[in-house]
Every structure is written in C-alpha cells, then in structure tokens.
Symmetry: C2
C-alpha cells in the first residue's frame, strides 16, 4: 500500500524530458490520427446514432425518420447529407420519397460494440 510503484512495469523507459523528440516512441501520425478522429466524430452525435440504429434494420424515408426520431425534416436531411458524403448510407428515390438504408456494416459493428460496453459498465 505504501509502494505506489507496485504494479508498474519496470522496463518503462522513464525518459522524462530527454528533449529529443525522436527518443520517444513514435506517436500516431497526426494526419492518420485526424482521420481516425473524423471517423469517431461521425458517431459522436446522438441523433446520428439513432438514425444509424434505425437504418440498420429498416429502409426508411426522410419523413419516416423525422417522425420516428421526433426531429425536423431539415435536421434529418442535414444529417443524412453527412452520412451520404461518407458513403455510410445508400439511398434510392421513389416518387417524391427518398429511401435510405445503412450501407457500412462496419460502422454498425462499432455501434453495437459500444452499445454493449455501455450496458455492462456505466461509463460515467
């Protein structure tokens, strides 16, 4: 209880201020990190997640989504625009309706992974 260093790996570099940046383990490249961040950012909006959850199971048009999610048509449409831009959804036009469907299953896998994670451990 007194030894705070108890469970720490002892082979840690302990560089501490070598001031030579190359002495440190290579960090994730900023550009790649930014692309990952953008990807996670897609899932970092509650309404977008709810749209994804619906479009994963069912093909729905904009009006359907706005009713089911109690959002405005415009808000839904804007969200779908971003999902479209990243090819996460496909859509087909039928008359004056536009039906959307989730295209990228990988995104849905991630969605489910985190959903289960939050169920077991209250992340807060």
């Amino acid at each position: 209880m007194t030894d705070v260093n108890l469970n720490i790996l002892d082979e840690e570099p302990q560089l501490c201020e070598s001031s030579d940046r190359t002495a440190y383990p290579p960090a994730l490249a900023l550009e790649k990190a930014q692309r990952m961040a953008d990807f996670f950012g897609l899932l970092a909006d509650a309404n977008r997640l709810r749209i994804i959850s619906l479009l994963a199971d069912t093909e729905l048009c904009v009006g359907d989504l706005s009713i089911a999610l109690e959002m405005s048509d415009s808000a839904v449409s804007h969200q779908l625009k971003t999902l479209r831009a990243l090819r996460l959804v496909r859509y087909r036009k039928q008359g004056r309706h536009v039906f959307y469907q989730l295209l990228d299953r990988h995104v849905f896998d991630l969605y489910n992974t985190v959903l289960e994670h939050l169920d077991e451990s209250a992340i807060e």
Copy 2:
C-alpha cells in the same frame, strides 16, 4: 441493372408517413444515444488519440507527452484532465512528475479496430 430495388429486402415496412410515431421501429433511446455519442466523442480528437496511442504502450509524464506530440504542456494537461475524469488513464506522482498510463483497454481495442479499418479502406 434496371431494377433499382434489386437488393432491397422486400419485407420492408414501407410505412412512410404514418404520422404515428409508435408505428415505427423503436429508435435508440435518446439518453442512451447521448451516452454513446459522448463515448465516441472521447475518441474524436486527433491529439487525444495520439495521447492514448502513447500511453497504451508506455508510461509517460506530461512533459514527455508534450515533447513527443509537439503540444504545449498546458494542452496536454487539459487533455489528460478529461481522460482522467473518465477514468481512462491512471496516474502516479513521483517527485514533481506525474506519470500517466492507459487504464481502459476497451478504448484501446476500439482504437485499434478503427486503425485497422482505415488501413484497409480509405474511408474518405
């Protein structure tokens, strides 16, 4: 090639504007969606991802991180504050240094999942 409805499931409800919200499949509850969004939001910042990538392999102090990532001490410290608030990192004080280490492996799993995903498919 002419049938746009080719690969669409035919048992789709096609509700379209039933105007009864309960007629639609239940959307992810807004509160839960928000918690998921917050979780993804944690990973939606390039510098935070780079911090996570370093702390997953190595125990480092604030100064180390700021040098390795070419960020200001203050910016790093602020980021660590948010990671700390969510119990994603542990830290131990040693003299005037504070060493940080990634605590939540689940986050790192997600990190790696997306990292690999971006490697194979250029998401843009």
